[in-house]
C-alpha cells in the first residue's frame, strides 16, 4: 500500500528483526533472506548493556 514494505523476519537463534524494503521487493513466507548491516547505522553494546563508543 505505501512506499515501503516492512518485513518481519527471524534470525537462526530466534531474534525477531524488522527490515524496511522498497515496495517492489517481494518475499514469500518462509523464504531465507540474506541481509547486511550498515556499520554507520549499527551500534554495539557490551555485556552491561552500555554502548561501546570510541
Amino acid at each position: 500500500m505505501g512506499a515501503e514494505t516492512l518485513v518481519h523476519a527471524r534470525t537462526p537463534d530466534n531474534s525477531d528483526i524488522r527490515v524496511v524494503v522498497p515496495r517492489d521487493v517481494k518475499f514469500k513466507i518462509g523464504e531465507k533472506l540474506h541481509l547486511r548491516a550498515d556499520p554507520s547505522q549499527t551500534h554495539i553494546f557490551g555485556e552491561d548493556g552500555k554502548a561501546v563508543r570510541a
Binding site: S15, D16, G30, K32, L33, F45
Partner: protein
C-alpha cells in the same frame, strides 16, 4: 530568569523508589521532554518540579531559587494536565482568566491578557462559548491559554496531547511548539509518545524504572543511544537488537557469532578493548542508502 533544575532528586513511596537521583536542567526557552514507558517515573518527576509531590531527597531549583519547601502556587509555574480541567460553568474567556483572579490586576489588564492569548491560540471566536460547546482541540488550546495567560516562570505539561485524535495531535504539536518558542520559558513535557517528544523537544530525557537513562537532542538520542534500553525504545519501527558473542578482532572488524554463524562487522575502535564476551548489536530497520560501503556481513534469515 526562567530555568528549571532538578538536582539528584529521589522520590520514595515506602519501599518503592519511583525516581532515583534524577538530574535535569532546562534552560530558558528550552523544551525538554520526559519520555518513557508507563510507570517509569516521568510524571512523578514532573509533579516534584511542580510541588505536587515532595522530594524525598535532592533539590528543585526554579529561576535560581530552591523550591523544595514551597507549595505549588508559590513556585510561579503553570501546569497543563492531560484532562484539561476546564470549569464547565464558566465560558472560555472566564476559564482562561481564572488564574488572574488571584492576582491584583485591573479588569482592563485581565481582558487585555485574555484577548492576547486567545489570539495567539486562535480562540478569539469562541471566547463566549461554554466548554461543552467547543471541540477537543479547542479545549486543549484553552488549557494552554490558561497556563500562559499568567506569564509564569516556566511551563509543565503532563501528556498534553494524549486525548486528541492522531490528526489533531499532529497539528497541535506544531502549534504548541510555536507558542512555546515565542515565550522563551523553560518547559518540561511528559509524554510516552516518542513522535511527540522527537518533534516538540529541544532535548529528550529517556526514563526507565525511575532512572534517567539518557538526555540529549532528538538526533543524539536516535543516532547514539547510550544503552540497549534506549536503542530498543527509540525509533519506529524499533531498532533490531540481536545478541551475539564477540570472538575477537580482525583489524578494524569485529568477529561476532550470531546463532551459529560468524560475521565480520566494521566497528568503532573502542570495541577492540572489549574482551571476548556477549554483545548486543542494534541496527535500524531502514535500508542503507550507501550499499557500496556495506561490508561482507551476511546472516541467513527467515521471514516469520
Amino acid at each position: 530568569m526562567s530555568t528549571i533544575e532538578a538536582r539528584k532528586i529521589t522520590k520514595r513511596f515506602g519501599d518503592f523508589v519511583a525516581v532515583r537521583d534524577a538530574d535535569l536542567s532546562v534552560k530558558a526557552g528550552e523544551v525538554v521532554c520526559l519520555l518513557g514507558p508507563s510507570g517509569c517515573g516521568k510524571t512523578t518527576t514532573l509533579r516534584m518540579i511542580a510541588g505536587l509531590e515532595r522530594v524525598t531527597s535532592g533539590d528543585i531549583i526554579i529561576g535560581g531559587k530552591r523550591m523544595n519547601e514551597l507549595s505549588p502556587e508559590k513556585r510561579d509555574i503553570a501546569m497543563v494536565f492531560q484532562f484539561y480541567a476546564l470549569y464547565p460553568a464558566l465560558n472560555v474567556a472566564d476559564n482562561i482568566a481564572m488564574p488572574l483572579h488571584y492576582e491584583k490586576i485591573s479588569k482592563t489588564e485581565r481582558d487585555r491578557r485574555v484577548h492576547r492569548v486567545a489570539e495567539i491560540l486562535h480562540l478569539s471566536d469562541v471566547l463566549d462559548r461554554m466548554p461543552g460547546q467547543v471541540s477537543e482541540g479547542e479545549k486543549q488550546r484553552i488549557a494552554v491559554a490558561r497556563a500562559i495567560v499568567r506569564e509564569p516562570n516556566c511551563f509543565l505539561f503532563d501528556e498534553p496531547l494524549s486525548r486528541l485524535d492522531v490528526e489533531l495531535r499532529h497539528s497541535m504539536r506544531g502549534q504548541i511548539k510555536e507558542v512555546l518558542s515565542n515565550l522563551s520559558k523553560a518547559t518540561v513535557i511528559v509524554t510516552h509518545d516518542q513522535l511527540e517528544a522527537l518533534t516538540m523537544a529541544d532535548r529528550i530525557a529517556i526514563m526507565r524504572d525511575g532512572i534517567i537513562e539518557q538526555i540529549g537532542t532528538p538526533h543524539q538520542v536516535f543516532t547514539k543511544p547510550a544503552n540497549v534500553f534506549v536503542a530498543s525504545f527509540i525509533g519506529t519501527p524499533q531498532m533490531n537488537l540481536v545478541k551475539g558473542k564477540l570472538e575477537g578482532m580482525n583489524g578494524s572488524k569485529a568477529m561476532i557469532q550470531f546463532g551459529g554463524e560468524k560475521v565480520e562487522l566494521e566497528v568503532n575502535p573502542a570495541v577492540s578493548k572489549l574482551k571476548p564476551s556477549q554483545v548486543t548489536l542494534a541496527s535500524g530497520p531502514a535500508p542503507s542508502r550507501r550499499s557500496s560501503v556495506v561490508p561482507r556481513i551476511r546472516s541467513p534469515l527467515r521471514p516469520s
